[in-house]
Symmetry: C2
Subunit: 96 residues, 2 copies
DNA sequence: ACAGGTGTTATCAAATTTGATAACTTTCAA
DNA sequence: TTGAAAGTTATCAAATTTGATAACACCTGT
C-alpha cells in the first residue's frame, strides 16, 4: 500500500452514506470512461479526430472522457463514440 | 417467412438512406429494451413495483421499455433499473 | 358485466446532457 | 524559445431525457 493516509481517509469517507452512494453510483461511469479512452488510444486516434468523425467538438470528447462535473452519458453518445471507432455497444447485466 | 408483404416493404424502406440510418441507430436501443424487460419479468416484478424501488413512476418505466417516441436513456437510468433488480451494468465494445 | 391489476400514452415542467466556442495548460519537436 | 499538437476547463444555449400526474386500454378472473 503506497498511501495509507489516503486509504484511511477513503475508508472513513465511505462510512458516510451519502458519500458512499455517490461513490457507488459513479464507479461504473469511471469504468466506462476508461474503456472509451482505451478504445480510442488503442487506435491512435486523437480527441479531435474522433470528434470530427462523430460530428462534434474535441472539448465534448474531453468532457465525456475526463470531465469533472459531468455524470451520465446517454446510450446514443456512447454508441456514436463506439461506432466512430468501429465498435458496437453491447450492454450486459450481471448479478450483483 | 410469415409475412412476405411486410418483408418486402421493409427491404424497400431500408433502401432509403434516412430510414436506414434511423433503423440502424435504434436497433441497439430495442435490443436494450428487450433485455430490460426480460430482467424484470424474469423476477416477476411489475412496472409499478420496479418504479417504487427506483423512486419513480410506472409510466416512466413503460416509456423506457416500450415508449414510441423516446430514444436514448442515460447510463444512470439503465443502472438504476438494473440495480433495482439486483444487477449491475456492464458495457462491452465489440468490433463491428 | 364488473372490478382490479398491469401496462400504455399524453402532457408539462424540471433536470440533465450535448453542441459550440474560446481560452488555457502541457508536452514535444524544430 | 517558438510553435504546433493534444487535451482540459469554462460557459451558454439548445436539445433531450426524466419526473409527475392523469386518463386510457387491455386483460383476466369472478
Amino acid at each position: 500500500m503506497d498511501d495509507l493516509s489516503f486509504e484511511n481517509f477513503k475508508d472513513e469517507a465511505l462510512k458516510n452514506t451519502a458519500v458512499k452512494k455517490e461513490y457507488d453510483a459513479l464507479g461504473p461511469v469511471f469504468e466506462l470512461r476508461r474503456k472509451l479512452i482505451k478504445l480510442r488510444t488503442a487506435k491512435g486516434v486523437t480527441q479531435e479526430q474522433l470528434a470530427r468523425i462523430m460530428g462534434t467538438n474535441k472539448s465534448n470528447i474531453s468532457r465525456l472522457e475526463s470531465g469533472e462535473n459531468i455524470s451520465y452519458p446517454t446510450f446514443k453518445t456512447i454508441s456514436k463514440y463506439a461506432a466512430a471507432l468501429g465498435y458496437k455497444v453491447d450492454i450486459e447485466f450481471r448479478p450483483v
